[in-house]
């Protein structure tokens, strides 16, 4: 199962042209859904208006080199390692799901458009699906706030679940279909394989066609928002937030005499405070 391209065997039933056309339709649905989502929520308009406002209250100009540095830092921290999450469990689950999804989508495209029978690509496709399942089910059963903090049952579905449910069901049905197709040559097994293939297509179509209603588009706007956040720190506008003061600095102590008076010249680390326990008292 892990060594073979499951789409290669499928060509007996469905022509590669149909498979390629399906992938193109899914890509168009994602692009169209994201554009409609942006138009509906006016998120891009809001984002640029906000960026313009931040620019007006900037205290210094950010150079091109700094912008490149910030882009690299955003890529390394927020995009590639999901550094914006406070909870380590959520971060790991997000990384598993994100990389699983990328590997799964890229290898699917390689196998369908490149007619690849490369063992490594087939293995990666399966590994991607397993990573998606691990991250997705972990989030679904244990991490999402409805279950972790609001005592909702794991099977209670809300609109926010379209994305995660269609993600892990896509991966799950893909793995089951691949397993049945690789192992079963008799008629009954082929029937089951067809059923799970149909479920895989239904989940996959839901995932890519529901962009307007799900949070699929977050993968496009989150990096932009993270970059903008770094920009506001670099140009001093800081989204109107107060500065990050070094309490042991003599200038800060002269400016805010309460600090040395009540906290001493070198204030101690006061501990994690509210973050010492996860929020679970909803």
């Amino acid at each position: 199962m892990f060594m073979t391209n499951p789409f290669a065997e499928l060509t007996a039933l469905i022509s590669p042209d149909v498979m390629q056309a399906y992938l193109i339709v899914m890509a168009v649905l994602v692009a169209g859904g994201t554009i409609l989502d942006m138009m509906h929520k006016k998120s891009a308009k809001y984002f640029f208006e906000n960026a313009e406002k931040a620019k007006k209250s900037a205290k210094r100009t950010v150079s091109g080199g700094e912008k490149v540095g910030m882009a690299v830092a955003t890529l390394a921290n927020e995009v590639l390692t999901s550094g914006e999450f406070c909870s380590m469990k959520r971060r790991i689950s997000h990384l598993l799901t994100m990389y699983g999804f990328i590997i799964f989508v890229v290898t699917t495209a390689i196998m369908i458009f490149g007619y690849s029978t490369n063992v490594l690509v087939a293995q990666l496709w399966h590994i991607g699906a397993i990573m998606l399942c691990l991250g997705g089910y972990w989030f679904w059963f244990f991490i999402r706030v409805d279950v972790a903090a609001e005592a909702a049952k794991w099977y209670k579905l809300v609109r926010a679940d379209i994305f995660i449910v269609s993600l892990f069901t896509t991966a799950t049905f893909a793995l089951i279909w691949s397993y049945l197709q690789a192992g079963g040559m008799n008629v009954a097994d082929m029937g089951w394989a067809t059923l799970f293939f149909a479920l895989f297509i239904v989940s996959n179509t839901t995932l890519f066609a529901s962009v307007l209603w799900s949070k699929f588009a977050h993968m496009f706007f989150k990096p932009a928002a993270a970059f903008q956040k770094r920009t506001t720190v670099a140009d001093g506008s800081r989204e109107n937030l107060p500065g990050d003061f070094d309490l042991s600095s003599p200038e800060v102590q002269a400016r805010f005499p309460d600090i040395p008076e009540y906290m001493g010249k070198n204030p101690e680390d006061m501990g994690a405070g509210i973050r010492r326990e996860a929020p679970n008292h909803y």
Partner: protein, 160 residues
């Protein structure tokens, strides 16, 4: 001045939901991000604004006394033990930063351990005082309680 959430900043961690004394910060059913379900009921206590680790929550002033464009933002840094405010007028003429030690009790340190307390006596049950209520909030037999009559003194400055 009810609170609102910048959805692109929020990661749905639930700190604001946890801390809101009015129980009006909830997780949105579509995007699983926090939002204020009932701005009219907001006390403007700033608890959620201070608790948010991403500064994703801001306060929108009512237009009659806090015209659009002004800004009051806060950063509560518990590791440093400080709270910083930045107040900005909408005409940009005033952009003021304030920094002070946090003077509230540490998180979780004021949970009453009722199981360790002795049960109230009948005389206590029959008074208008609530169980464990400090005696200073009530009238004594002759007059109002005062700091002097109770041998207390106000200390100057910030103290814990």
């Amino acid at each position: 001045m009810p609170t609102f959430v910048y959805m692109t900043r929020c990661d749905g961690c639930g700190q604001c939901v946890d801390i809101c004394p009015s129980d009006i910060m909830h997780i949105d059913k579509t995007l699983r991000r926090a939002y204020n379900i009932e701005p009219n009921m907001c006390w403007e206590c700033y608890s959620c604004v201070k608790a948010c680790p991403h500064h994703a929550i801001d306060v929108r002033g009512y237009a009659d006394f806090a015209p659009l464009g002004s800004s009051v933002r806060v950063h509560r840094d518990e590791e440093k033990g400080t709270i910083a405010w930045r107040i900005k007028f909408r005409n940009g003429k005033k952009d003021m930063e304030l920094l002070a030690p946090i003077t509230t009790k540490p998180w979780g340190s004021c949970i009453p351990q009722l199981a360790n307390e002795a049960a109230p006596a009948d005389s206590m049950r029959n008074t208008e005082l609530l169980y464990n209520e400090p005696k200073y909030v009530a009238m004594n037999d002759n007059a109002l309680m005062t700091l002097e009559s109770n041998g207390l003194e106000i200390k100057e400055g910030v103290y814990y």
